[in-house]
């Protein structure tokens, strides 16, 4: 009797005491008979779920993935994670699951039983002591007593952050051998060599002036990237002009000089010949998703062409293309292009649907492309890419930025990823292997 009154009083007193002081709420649950808690701020919801989709080759504590109302989330079995005994349930049985949200990531966590929400005073949390729980001490935020029960508060941020750290570490190790060292100085070296060479032939200064004029008028920067073409073109130019006056006097001259620089089918649908050439450079891949970055996509003809080519080449893969341009006017038209059937080459017609004003690409193609108003010189936050399609864009960036973007390409590309440059552009830096044959200039990183 005495003890009963004592507990009642204690319980009555406790809520009053807590009203003012609760500043930490945790969701409590049990693992192998012991009580645990996690900060309620990390808990998105709780759910009963089962029949998780098994993911091969994953860590043993990863039960699989689960479809949470359309979002695919990984499900971790905390008992396995901490090497605690877990009751084997039949495949159909539902497990108790906490859905945690940590930053951008949502995880499912399987536990034995979910108890309730307990409010405590954060100052009453004591630091972990190794004798509590069967759990690695670094994952414990603290220990707290509430109504005669001892709760171990797990530091979920740490548990899952630790797993995240592991991943990038592995990734960064793989490319390190072939990692492309950003070139800072060497760019001027080959340039001066060739200039000296050209000067010996007596045409050096003219070529230099032409290079400067091209940059001033057309923002075309002559660098090792396009040097072979610039020199070749200069020889042609001498023949075309015949006269002693080789200089580019105005923008028309500059346009004429650059006429043969541009890749085939720039700003237009790709023709059959170019498609065949591209197909030869595309790798066989077992990957289910193909991520492509297409900077400088202009009005989108190139992007649509490439999307169709990829769709036909990789029938079962999910294709995602990020297409950017810094020309607002051009790119604004891209998502809603309408064509007349006659203007579209045969190859692409199977992907067209008839709309009110003409033909447009079907939703499969459209949904695979994301047109963005974006400047390549700003940060390029793209995921790991399989293919970068950047025809005739690098040449129109200042030399310093050309190098920066090429090293950016190297960083963003998957191990066997492919960079497709313009017809007359070459990566001369170390660490790249040339793949394509004219008119396709394609590169992969050296293994």
């Amino acid at each position: 009797m005495d003890t009963n009154t004592a507990t009642v009083e204690q319980e009555r007193a406790a809520p009053q005491g807590r009203v003012n002081t609760i500043d930490y709420k945790m969701v409590t649950f049990s693992l192998a008979g012991k009580d645990y808690g996690v900060d309620i701020m990390n808990v998105k919801e709780i759910a009963k779920a089962g029949r998780f989709t098994f993911v091969p080759n994953a860590a043993p504590y990863l039960r699989g993935v689960y479809n949470l109302r359309g979002d695919i989330i990984p499900v971790v079995d905390l008992r396995v994670f901490f090497h605690l005994p877990a009751e084997k349930k039949s495949d159909e049985a539902l497990e108790n699951m906490l859905i945690l949200r940590l930053g951008e990531h949502v995880f499912g966590v399987v536990v034995d039983n979910i108890d309730k929400v307990v409010g405590i005073q954060s100052s009453s949390i004591q630091p972990p002591h190794p004798i509590f729980g069967d759990i690695n001490i670094k994952y414990i935020h603290g220990v707290v007593e509430n109504q005669n029960r001892l709760y171990i508060i797990l530091d979920v941020v740490r548990i899952f952050a630790q797993k995240e750290e592991e991943k990038p570490r592995i990734l960064s190790e793989t490319p390190s051998g072939s990692y492309y060292a950003p070139v800072t100085g060497p760019i001027s070296v080959p340039l001066t060599d060739s200039v000296i060479e050209a000067r010996d032939e007596g045409g050096g200064t003219d070529l230099d002036f032409i290079k400067q004029t091209l940059f001033a008028l057309k923002r075309f920067a002559a660098t090792p990237l396009n040097e072979a073409w610039v020199n070749r073109r200069f020889e042609e130019w001498k023949k075309i002009q015949k006269s002693s006056d080789l200089q580019l006097k105005n923008i028309e001259d500059a346009d004429q000089y650059l006429e043969t620089f541009y890749s085939p089918y720039s700003g237009n649908f790709w023709g059959e010949d170019f498609i065949q050439a591209i197909l030869q450079t595309l790798p066989d891949t077992a990957s289910r998703t193909i991520q492509v970055w297409n900077p400088g996509c202009g009005k989108g003809f190139e992007t649509f062409s490439f999307a169709c080519v990829l769709r036909k080449r990789y029938r079962d893969a999910q294709i995602k293309i990020w297409a950017n341009d810094s020309d607002l006017l051009a790119i604004s038209q891209a998502p809603n292009m309408v064509f007349q059937l006659d203007d579209v080459p045969e190859y692409f017609r199977e992907f067209l649907v008839k709309g009110r004003n003409g033909y447009t690409f079907n939703s499969t193609i459209k949904d695979s492309i994301l047109f963005e108003y974006h400047d390549i010189l700003n940060s390029n936050p793209f995921p790991e890419l399989d293919i970068i399609l950047a025809r005739d864009i690098l040449s129109f960036l200042p030399p310093v930025d050309q190098n920066r973007i090429i090293s950016d390409f190297s960083e963003k590309l998957k191990g066997k990823g492919l960079v497709i440059l313009g017809k007359n552009e070459q990566i001369v830096e170390e660490g790249w292997t040339s793949l394509g044959k004219d008119p396709v200039s394609a590169y992969t990183r050296k293994e």
């Binding site: 810094s326 994301l370 047109f371 963005e372 974006h374 400047d375 700003n378 940060s379 936050p381």
Partner: protein
């Protein structure tokens, strides 16, 4: 920034400013900006979540903010008091809300956070790995820069 997102913001800013200030609005050239940029003095920030993540910042000088708040309230305000602040906050809310409504009609789902207002001198704003679209709007009260930094959720 996804092309489809641009117009709703431009249109919403244009419509709302024209309506609440009852005046002519001139839109400047749109452009992209990256890294850190200075804030003019009064900045209202509305966060966006949903299909995208990011924020919209309405940036103006203190005198512009006072003039805009005065016009909207129909009385002369001389200091950035509670009323002036609430007015600018509300303006940011109206524009963003209309843009989000337009985007919703296009099939994009966005949620917005309540606006937060920042005032002070020599402020800067930086966004990690997101470039901002700047929509400059000229009204008789001054220049209002609408700074949209959003990106697709990966």
């Amino acid at each position: 920034m996804r092309v489809e997102y641009i117009n709703p913001f431009v249109e919403a800013a244009f419509n709302i400013l024209k309506e609440v200030l009852n005046t002519e609005v001139r839109r400047g050239e749109l452009y992209l900006k990256s890294t850190t940029m200075p804030v003019l003095g009064v900045a209202a920030l509305v966060g966006l979540a949903g299909d995208v993540e990011g924020r919209v910042l309405f940036d103006m000088s203190k005198s512009t903010a006072l003039a805009v708040a005065s016009t909207m309230n129909g009385e002369q305000l001389t200091t950035m008091d509670e009323l002036a602040k609430a007015t600018i906050t509300e303006l940011a809310n109206m524009i963003t809300a209309q843009a989000v409504t337009k985007l919703h009609d296009l099939g994009f789902k966005f949620d917005l956070t309540p606006p937060a207002l920042f005032t002070g001198d020599n402020m800067e704003v930086s966004d990690h790995e997101v470039e901002a679209l700047i929509v400059p709007m000229e009204v008789p009260e001054g220049r209002i820069e609408i700074n949209v930094a959003i990106r697709e959720r990966a």
